[in-house]
Symmetry: C2
Subunit: 379 residues, 2 copies
């Protein structure tokens, strides 16, 4: 979300050797980056580290010297590989001692499942300055350490446990502790134009979005998004968003949380389609995957399933309408086109559009290009 | 991949404000983590940084002081936000000057598309100690800087450009420069047992895998994987892998690159099934997505498509067999079960199995649990 003036900033340590070996993609970092940006204390650094005590301790010391909020995820499990507690205690110059209340909570938790492995007692260790935070859906408690002008937070690496602890405990405490003014953002989502074309269309709205506002352009597989944000009054976003909508016209498929699959299904619903199926070729099932992940909405067409063309002749599942998508072979210049149509209760004659990229990215963009054609065809 | 003894190590800087704001997930880091591990120069740190010159310069200086190989991705575009070149030049104490050969290459590249925006000339800037590396599919050249005992590499952030530059140029140069002995790995993949149960079954194979070998356990949505690796002779992996296969028995669904969907489709193929469809309820289309992403293989059943149960009665697409999956409601203790069956040319009576986690993770695990039941039922 660009620069952040004089406000406080945060650093994140993602701890776990599996992250460094490419075994696991760090989705926690993206979740926290986005959540911290909304909270108004943007991330300035994300660092992934292996499960090595000395490295973890040094990274905590470095980060604590730079930022008033340091968050770490991972390395809180029961095994000897889990060294985040030890690393932070080293950086703080504190000892780990068993906490009787945490021990009792662990034993109670395990009572439902049978006996607790002795190794789990490591999760009841605590540094003196750490306040333990309950984990209602896992065995690793979190830590909240407020010392020397820096808040240091430990959360479990399991995404569901981390997200719940963040939402219920860390986010509200952080907002209070730093007296944050949350960041309000407005996003205008387009498909079918590139970054530079979008920048030309909106002109100086990008450089001078308005008093106390900032703006940026972000390219994704589901199109180019124009975002405005402010730490001030959320109502200040209305004018630039309205102006962007007017300037970008039919390239816009929605704002804020809108997603292209939901928008396309809503457009089909307005065209009288109750159920829709998909048929796709050479796209690795991306259209089907994107449609399957769309949240059902009242009045929108409901995705009932789809088929892949593997050279066979399997018809699409029975539905009011079928979206058909083919990714055509790449030409001599490496360019690709997709062919899109809709048949059934709603009808869209076949169109061909360009898609960029290669590999899986091209397949994903093909799916979004199809949904964009559906959205445009029935808007 | 755990500790790495005395060999050289690498650090990665992922540069781009969008990474810090959670706008983009850093898939380049996972690719490079895995590629560097195989090459034998494991990553010790991944750090994501915003597009700010002073932060980038400080991070290069820190990383260059710690590691003999520092790789950076991103921030090589033509706009004023792209400051990776400047940051590295600052850390090296060098100036950026226009490189005539790079200018000529850029003009040639753009000749095919029309005129080159003047801003693209920033991509022809070079520090004196940097060797420019061609980018055959993009406008940003890479850099290779070998100075002061540290190799520093810049690559584009666009995944397809980065991967090609890595494969064709950086990986071979790095192997030569550090005289690396590549790491050989063998992986045994299980589903249906937890980490601690797996550790108990393999006993001391985990702690004492053999001369020059290391071992680790990794939990993923598609099961718990046991991995052995060595910088020595790849043949040394055969004995521990064979022993793990014997000890883990039918919990194993494959080794190395095997994936559960492909294994399940192969098992159905052996049972005489040519085409298979899916029917799923309450799983958000995860079974259909996982099956769609499976690579077709000779002799394996071919996935032709599937349907989601949204309360309707849409039949699955026509196929020899249908995999049916329902995620049952969570019980009072937060526990979930899935119900799995196969009907058609191959038949698997309904079974119920536990799934862990919550949200999307539980939905993904439900899909893998179904595929595991198929694999077990037809093995």
């Amino acid at each position: 979300m660009g620069s952040d003036g004089d406000g406080p900033v945060a650093e994140l340590l993602s701890i776990g050797s599996e992250l460094l070996a490419g075994e696991t993609i760090d989705t926690n970092a993206a979740f926290l980056g986005s959540a911290l940006a909304r909270l108004g204390i943007p991330l300035r650094s994300i660092r992934a580290l292996p499960d090595e005590r000395a490295l973890i301790a040094a990274a905590f010391a470095d980060a604590r010297a730079r930022a008033p909020l340091v968050i770490a995820t991972g390395g809180l499990g029961p095994t000897h590989d889990d060294l985040t507690r030890e690393g932070l205690a080293d950086a703080l110059g504190e000892e780990l001692t068993p906490d009787d209340a945490l021990k009792a909570q662990l034993r109670e938790r395990f009572a439902a499942f049978g006996t607790m492995p002795e190794s789990n007692l490591r999760q009841a260790l605590r540094a003196a300055s750490a306040e333990a935070l309950p984990n209602p859906i896992g065995s690793a408690p979190g830590w909240w350490v407020d010392r020397d002008g820096c808040v240091t937070v430990l959360m479990p690496g399991v995404p569901s446990e981390m997200r719940r602890m963040w939402d219920e405990q860390i986010a509200p405490r952080t907002g209070d502790r730093f007296a944050l003014r949350p960041v309000h953002a407005g996003e205008v989502k387009t498909f079918g134009i590139g970054e530079s074309a979008l920048a030309e269309l909106v002109g100086d709205l990008l450089e001078v979005p308005g008093e106390g506002l900032e703006a940026g352009i972000y390219a994704h597989d589901d199109g180019v998004h124009l975002r405005f944000w402010t730490r001030g009054d959320a109502a200040a976003l209305d004018a630039p968003v309205a102006r962007a909508l007017a300037l970008l016209g039919e390239n816009v498929y929605g704002t804020d949380e809108a997603d292209l699959a939901t928008v396309a299904l809503a457009a089909l619903g307005r065209a009288g389609v109750t159920t829709v199926a998909s048929w796709e070729a050479n796209t690795g099932g991306t259209l089907l995957s994107v449609l399957a992940a769309a949240e059902p909405a009242p009045g929108a067409a409901r995705f009932v399933g789809g088929v892949l063309d593997g050279g066979g002749a399997t018809p699409a599942p029975v539905a009011d309408a079928v979206i058909q998508l083919s990714l055509l072979p790449t030409d001599a210049h490496g360019r690709s086109r997709v062919r899109v149509s809709v048949s059934g209760a709603a009808n869209l004659p076949m169109v061909e559009v360009r898609v960029h990229g290669s590999g899986i990215q091209r397949q994903r963009r093909a799916a979004f290009a199809a949904l964009d054609q559906v959205r445009r065809g029935f808007s």
